[in-house]
């Protein structure tokens, strides 16, 4: 991919095929199509939040590369995995109002791109229909979890 294309590449969470939770800094993502779920922690969670907020791939990678070239390469590979596993997809550019959290994390020395996948529920997820209204539920504990 050219530098310009990467800079323009914007991703979004692949809803409604995926459901996500952001709990105490950890992102848990369930891909309802593959039945695989993922746990993202540390810098990987920050990168996810930045992408979900609309930061372009290029802006994140170029910002991180100015601090640590090796982490930038690893971050680019991680972002590719987000797409390959179907939990994020290409999206149209959209305005972003926040500073990238991942860049601030790298500056403070956070370099752990913790990304784990689990397929122990795959058969269950693929064998049972999921209630569409269930996916968009806003549950009461979510506010408690954020505070």
């Amino acid at each position: 991919m050219t530098g310009t294309a990467a800079h323009l590449r914007v991703l979004e969470v692949a809803k409604p095929d995926c459901v996500t939770e952001d709990l105490h800094g950890e992102i848990v993502v369930l891909n309802l199509v593959s039945g695989v779920y993922f746990s993202l922690r540390n810098l990987a969670a920050a990168v996810w939040r930045d992408l979900a907020a609309g930061h372009s791939v290029g802006s994140l990678i170029s910002g991180i590369s100015r601090v640590d070239e090796r982490i930038a390469v690893a971050t680019a590979e991680l972002i590719d995995k987000f797409e390959q596993t179907g939990i994020m997809r290409q999206a149209s550019p959209r305005p972003v109002e926040t500073e990238p959290e991942s860049l601030a994390s790298v500056r403070t020395g956070e370099v752990r791109l913790t990304f784990e996948s689990f397929d122990d529920m795959k058969e269950l997820v693929l064998s049972s229909p999921v209630h569409i209204s269930d996916i968009d539920d806003q549950m009461g504990w979510q506010d408690a979890a954020r505070t």
């Binding site: 746990s39 122990d120 209204s133």
Partner: protein, 358 residues
């Protein structure tokens, strides 16, 4: 989606709406009814079967009710044959590929479950629909004789969970033990030792909010609320606890070869309505010389909890997944390697709870 399939979905949704309205309009005089408190819900149970009303309400009714804070939850357990209504099986438009019925009720903002009947056999599972706006649930079945045998062991389980999810709670396949209102949630698949650990606990003076299902609400700390006044245990495990053999001799075993009994018949006042949760335990029958607890990763505990929520509570799988994520990241998790001595198990869990909260 084609125009014709959209139209047929719309027609199917309309028949669901008409059924739910018909249920709501059915007067109490045509039914047997009971009112009681479960958690902080006032529940109105309406059924075509006086026997079901009596058994289910006795198993659900709080004996020390908490203050009622939420709107009334109405649960309708109707037999089509008793009312002269069409059987749920006769609604051909409700049948389709996996997820079809869920899509139909979803168009109305409802939740629902209607399992595919086995070809050539009568439908055994009831058609279940929940309207969160009216806080009203319907369980329609041709005749109560078709109810699956496990239904009576956890009455209205699916409807209660749909009601719980509508307010951000979850009915969790778990037990709870406590000392002075503080305690632990005990999770694990069938046969892991949940019920045995709970029974061991109450036999040594601990309190419980249930040995199979509890409602978990997102307070800080999370709380487990009692749903059922019933324990399930096999005769062999019961025989190892003093006083239980004689008290349960007259009982017959259920479909799963377990005895169902009211624990307060043997251990008076052992049931509490609310337990403040401080940890999640996953027991394992290990025949250790002494019961020991080992702190474990939340992800491992999630793998114990989430699959049971997914399989046991249809219609709310994703909510259950998310709830399990939150709960297992909110409380410390321990694996419990059980000894073979119920008194020792109960003492160890009791000491653990006291240490955890002191």
């Amino acid at each position: 989606m084609s125009c014709s399939s959209a139209a047929s979905l719309q027609n199917a949704a309309e028949s669901v709406r008409q059924l739910v309205n018909r249920v709501a309009a059915t007067p109490d005089e045509a039914l047997s009814t009971a009112e009681f408190v479960v958690a902080d819900w006032k529940v109105r149970l309406r059924s075509t079967s006086p026997e079901i009303t009596e058994i289910y309400s006795s198993r659900l009714r709080s004996r020390k009710p908490l203050a009622v804070h939420s709107s009334c939850l109405t649960l309708n357990l109707f037999e089509a044959s008793a009312l002269g209504w069409a059987s749920p099986e006769s609604y051909s438009e409700w049948r389709g590929p996996p997820g079809h019925f869920e899509s139909i009720v979803g168009k109305l903002g409802f939740r629902g479950v209607f399992h595919k009947a086995i070809e050539g056999e009568p439908g055994r599972d009831p058609c279940t629909i929940f309207d969160p706006n009216r806080q009203m649930g319907v369980q329609l079945i041709e005749t109560m004789n078709n109810l699956p045998p496990w239904d009576v062991g956890a009455p209205c389980r699916i409807l209660l969970n749909m009601g719980a999810v509508s307010r951000g709670w979850c009915l969790v396949h778990a037990a709870a033990l406590s000392v002075g209102g503080d305690g632990v949630l005990i999770v694990g698949p069938g046969g892991a030792g949940k019920s045995g650990t709970t029974l061991a606990g109450v036999s040594t003076g601990l309190k419980t909010a249930g040995d199979d299902y509890v409602l978990v609400c997102p307070t800080s700390p999370p709380a487990a609320l009692r749903v059922y006044n019933i324990f399930k245990q096999d005769r062999d495990r019961l025989s190892r606890i003093s006083g239980l053999v004689g008290a349960t001799t007259r009982l017959k075993t259920n479909w799963n070869n377990k005895l169902e009994f009211d624990p307060e018949d043997v251990f008076p006042e052992c049931i509490v309505e609310r337990v403040r949760l401080h940890a999640i335990l996953a027991p394992k029958i290990a025949y250790e010389p002494r019961t020991r607890l080992l702190k474990i990763d939340p992800q491992w505990m999630f793998q114990q909890l989430a699959p049971t929520l997914w399989t046991q509570l249809p219609g709310t799988q994703v909510s259950g997944f998310r709830f399990a994520t939150w709960l297992t990241r909110s409380l410390p998790a321990y694996s419990v390697f059980l000894s073979d001595d119920p008194a020792e198990i109960g003492d160890t869990i009791g000491r653990f709870i006291v240490e955890l909260t002191s």
